[in-house]
């Protein structure tokens, strides 16, 4: 059991280090978040819904 756990944790540690070195992140990079925000704003403008921010936020630059 202990060896299995140690092996499991070592593999997890390796994956974690590799992911960090590769810049992988589950929450997306700044660019991905910015693109998602712009897309949401555009969708909001298209449909007139309030789901997308209408500007004035951090990424809008207005």
């Amino acid at each position: 059991m202990f060896r299995t756990y140690l092996g499991y944790a070592l593999v997890a540690l390796g994956l974690y280090g590799y992911a960090q070195a590769k810049g992988w992140t589950i929450f997306g990079t700044e660019a991905q978040r910015f693109a998602a925000q712009r897309a949401a704003e555009a969708e909001g403008r298209r449909t007139g819904s309030s789901s997308g921010r209408s500007g004035g936020g951090f990424f809008s630059g207005k």
């Binding site: 059991m1 202990f2 756990y5 140690l6 499991y8 944790a9 997890a12 540690l13 994956l15 974690y16 280090g17 590799y18 992911a19 960090q20 070195a21 590769k22 810049g23 992988w24 992140t25 589950i26 929450f27 990079t29 700044e30 660019a31 991905q32 978040r33 910015f34 693109a35 712009r38 403008r45 500007g55 990424f59 809008s60 630059g61 207005k62």
Partner: protein, 642 residues
Amino acid sequence: MRTANCPSCGGPLRFRGATSIVAVCAFCKSTLVRDGAKLEDIGKQAQLLEDDSPIRIGADGRHKGVGFTVVGRIQYRYGSGVWNEWHVVMADGKSAWLSDASREYTITFLVAPQALPKFEELRPGQVLTIGKNAFTAMNMEQAEVVAGEGELPFRFTSGWKADVADLRGEGNKFATIDYSEEPPHVYVGEKLPFDQFAFSGLRDPTQVGFAKGRALAFKCAGCGSPLESHLATSEVVACATCGSVTDVTKGVGEVVQSAEKHKKKFKPSIPLGAEGTWNSVRYEVVGLMRRQITVDGEKYEWTEYLLHNTERGYAWVSEYNGHFSFIQNCAELPKSASWLGGKPRMKYLGHTFEHFQKSEPRAVYLAGEFYWQVRLGDKAVCNDYVAPPLILSSEATGNELTWSLGEYAEGPDLWKAFKLGGKPPKPIGVGPNQPSPHTGKAAFLWKAFLVFAAIALVLQLVLGALIENRSRLSHRFAVEAGGRTQSVSVPHKLGGVLAAPVTVHTTSNVRDTWLNLDLQLTNVDTGHAYGMKRALGYTKVGTAMQGASVDFGQFDGVPPGTYTVGVAASAGASASAPAPVFTGTVEVYRSALGWSNFWLFLGAISLWPFIAWRRAAGFEGHRWSESDYADSDSGGDDEDDE
């Protein structure tokens, strides 16, 4: 040493001890009292009861480096059987008493009179101060002299009665108070293992205990079933068929508890007479007792098997729901420890025991021979403390307090040791002192978790330092409205470890037209280039201007190295006059190392120890669900408790 001749039969007499004033003639049993040069015959001694003590007059031993010789003994009878007080004369001339009761040995010395409570006021567990030491009253009995032999330091006669209290102190300290004297005689000494006395000249082992030809066979007066007693120390024999208890202290005696038919037939898992070796000691099962407690109207029963070994005396094996423990009397008095979690605790042999339950069991089934005057219905107040695989138990009757230590025994191991047929009963639930299969696992896993978490933290900091997100390739550009321009930055080193994304953050002052950027990131050393087109600025939608003057993009798979960024900018016409020059900044950098993967990693590696911890907690919940401390959470988890 002084020698004399018995005035009754002429046999030789010796007074080896200066304090010896009585000698029993070994030939005619006359009791002779020394008064100066005179010897007074005060009558014949009664016959000593046969016992299995390995000690005899003339045996030598040592205590704390001082040799002694056994010169006499008084045999006493009390409620729980017979014991011997051996009068020993130390090499330094002192006199002491070596007590031998059921293979437990104490040596005590007379000390100065003490302020003591009356015998009637003493209670088991009461603490007295003798000298500078605290002693706990363990046993108060009226003892009766059976007979004596050899040299003794005071007059006595058979049938003489004395109120005696035994007390235990810290460690192996022991005290006895003899209330038959005024003021009471106080003896203080130690309880020690037999081997520590380094005896020589003991009785022939083949003449002690299970000697052949000493079996006492008879028919139960209650039901006629054949019964047998083969231990010299046995006080009673209980009939397994009808429950009658027969006194066998002087051969086959009277039935001291008439045939109270056992309410139900009971088939013990370990039969009487079974022999086996446990902890390198050969034992025979000589008796068994079924005990019962009632909790919330529900009856719980367990079995206690009495084991006997000629050299080591008695031990027990308890059985409850398929859980077994091997039990022996405590050599020392356990100490109270501070409470924890509302539970009293005791310390013994370096272990800390938590209180498990208080119970008042009564004997509901008896079979075999016992070394004390046991009866069906006998009650005691018991307190159990656990430190798996150990269980520490106190048992108090009206005048006695005893402590015993048990260790969990696996059924298959017992079956193998005692060569029993079939299989042991399957354990049900969790035994009070059953060792947890999870003990230490969760703690080990949590420790490993902490180590990995620390490694990950260090890795996070090292990677963060290598990536150097604060060092940015920054390039300013300018473009006229309606115009185009190209520029290239100075080379800049981008940190990192592996090929990873780099962020491109663009800001501009464009307000009323579009701005397109053609970006190219070029590795100065390899010439490898990464291209990207970005659109900023504003477009008119209806009457409103929509867009942004900032932008975030990223180049993927960029290895660390030295790079330049080339910017080809083109801007739309502006309504402003004169035509403005738009400026902007392109920053290329590694994004700061996020912590999401770190937390994800911690979550992943904490799962295993968390499950182990839950399993351990579930097992303990089951254990404590039958204790006095059961709560609503107990027994909630039953993942793998068997």
